[in-house]
């Protein structure tokens, strides 16, 4: 039980950090909204996706809201390792994993807030999903699962990086991946190489599953692929994080 209490104390610490860092709040919550406005009102008019663009793009925006918050976590984890505070925690009778779980839970909750904000904005922009309560629940479950998995991977990146700058840079691929998926335009419209990449990268099945849940009928195969990718990313991130943490801290 004391590990849970320790994690809760660390979570509170991480929340205070986030609230005191306007850049984190901007990147995690406001930037996806800015991107949403840009994609729908500036670029969206040029895309022909067969349905109303806001309905097509919202699942992609949700994924983006998850990934944009990750950079701050990688930087914060790295700062914990490099500023000496970690040695203070380690020399105390404190659960070692609590430092990491505090970051993971905080990042996941921050992602949930960012996703809630982007969904609200999407509704205001005319998003009209056809999802049943069960679909919504499943979609929420998938978002939390993705956020949780991506958080572990991000924590691992933050632990492995030599400096805070390179830690932030390490999450750029996670932020770029949604752009190279079917988030903003169907993979079928892309150039051959990009198309193949887009079809097989993890974000595409995740986005397609969300899209299916919110605006149509999800395909079981895609949904299984999405959950498998999340589980894989989460497990890999978790193991990598533990290994780096033992070596480094």
């Amino acid at each position: 039980m004391s590990a849970v209490t320790d994690s809760a104390i660390m979570l509170r610490r991480n929340f205070k950090h986030t609230l005191r860092n306007p850049v984190t709040v901007f990147n995690a919550v406001l930037f996806p909204i800015v991107m949403a406005l840009m994609f729908v009102y500036v670029l969206g008019g040029a895309f022909d996706v067969g349905v109303k663009y806001i309905n097509y793009v919202t699942p992609g925006l949700i994924i983006m809201a998850v990934s944009y918050g990750l950079g701050a976590t990688a930087t914060a984890v790295n700062a914990d390792m490099t500023t000496g505070i970690i040695n203070r925690f380690k020399a105390m009778d404190v659960s070692r994993a609590a430092v990491l779980t505090g970051h993971v839970v905080e990042t996941t909750l921050r992602a949930v807030v960012a996703v809630a904000a982007i969904v609200g904005v999407a509704f205001a922009m005319g998003f009209r999903p056809a999802a049943s309560p069960v679909d919504w629940l499943a979609a929420a479950g998938l978002v939390v699962l993705l956020a949780f998995a991506a958080s572990w991977l991000t924590v691992a990146l933050g632990l492995a990086a030599k400096s805070a700058e390179s830690a932030g840079l390490g999450t750029v691929p996670l932020i770029m991946l949604p752009f190279l998926s079917s988030a903003f335009s169907p993979a079928g419209t892309m150039a051959t190489g990009v198309k193949q990449f887009a079809e097989y990268q993890p974000f595409t099945p995740i986005i397609e599953t969300l899209r299916g849940l919110l605006t149509g009928t999800p395909s079981t195969g895609t949904a299984l692929a999405a959950v498998a990718w999340c589980a894989g990313i989460g497990l890999a991130g978790y193991l990598w994080a533990l290994r780096s943490f033992k070596r480094r801290a």
Partner: protein, 311 residues
């Protein structure tokens, strides 16, 4: 608490092929200040890291507060407080929140009162609502030490607590350390400043290249070195030559017109020396007695002056 707060025997640590600690024996009595003195790279921080369970030893054993550092890490961690070389404060939390974080993690009852008490004791009450990022170096060290004291640890490790501090903050830190010992706490202090060890510690161990080359009280260490001498300065070369003629043990410095005469510095010996020069009609312009300080000890023990190795 009676007996030993910290004991170590044959403690070893290697990083790759480099031997950092080559068999360290320690015995720190409870309620005392013990100082591990040595230049950069001697292995001071590694010793602290091993004793505070931050690293595992490659050989040897140690007990801290009666608990084995390898087998009873939890019990060791409960008994100790550690202030590392670099202030380990959370910059994005205020002074009060930093202390509160420690109090929460240590499950200290009546945390608010404890935190307020420490803020007042360390003269940080005014700065308490400000982020630690805005603190000066001295304030940061004070906050760091205050965080270490939350939960009243019996044994406190201070790794170079005054490195980089201005003289006034250094004095404040020394006063705080003395107060802690007065409360019955055991302090394990590392320093590369000889005067700091001399000022604070009851016992000193000199660490060089991973080995303890000497240990004892400051006075005992100084006695190990034959650094006692008298410095005599003469008005001109003739007088210097004459004096050197009757004092064959002395080393002369032509440039400064001085003689360095080794020997005891008690009143009887001094009077004998001066009488002798007087009988020969030699005039002395200046006279100084030099008792060895820890710099001499260090030079004698390691073959290097401290100035060279601490740079």
């Amino acid at each position: 608490m009676n007996g030993s707060a910290i004991t170590a025997s044959g403690l070893r640590k290697t990083f790759g092929r480099q031997v950092v600690l080559d068999g360290i024996d320690l015995d720190v009595p409870a309620g005392s200040i013990f100082s591990l003195l040595g230049p950069n790279g001697a292995g001071k921080t590694t010793t602290v890291n091993l004793l505070t369970t931050l690293m595992q030893a490659d050989g040897g054993t140690a007990r801290v507060a009666g608990h084995d550092i390898a087998a009873e890490t939890k019990a060791v961690r409960k008994a100790i407080g550690v202030t590392g070389q670099f202030a380990a404060v959370d910059e994005l939390l205020t002074g009060r929140e930093n202390l509160r974080l420690m109090a929460d993690l240590k499950r200290v009852p009546d945390a608010d009162r404890v935190v307020t008490g420490l803020l007042e004791r360390f003269d940080l009450a005014d700065a308490a609502p400000k982020l630690a990022a805005t603190y000066s170096g001295g304030m940061r060290r004070k906050l760091d030490l205050a965080m270490t004291l939350v939960g009243r640890p019996q044994i406190i490790f201070l790794d170079e607590p005054t490195t980089g501090l201005d003289p006034r903050s250094r004095r404040t830190m020394w006063d705080i350390v003395r107060e802690l010992v007065a409360d019955g706490v055991t302090i394990f202090l590392t320093t590369q400043y000889l005067d700091e060890a001399d000022q604070l510690a009851g016992r000193i161990a000199v660490l060089d290249h991973g080995r303890i080359v000497a240990h004892g009280s400051p006075a005992e260490l100084k006695r190990q070195v034959r650094g006692n001498h008298v410095r005599l300065r003469f008005p001109d070369h003739t007088q210097l030559e004459a004096a050197a003629g009757i004092l064959p043990d002395a080393t002369r410095d032509e440039h400064d017109l001085t003689l360095r005469v080794p020997g005891d510095s008690d009143v009887r010996s001094l009077r004998a020396l001066l009488d002798r020069l007087d009988t020969h009609g030699i005039a002395i312009e200046e006279f100084a007695v030099h008792t060895p300080d820890l710099d001499d000890v260090f030079l004698a023990l390691t073959g290097r002056p401290t100035a060279e190795v601490t740079q």
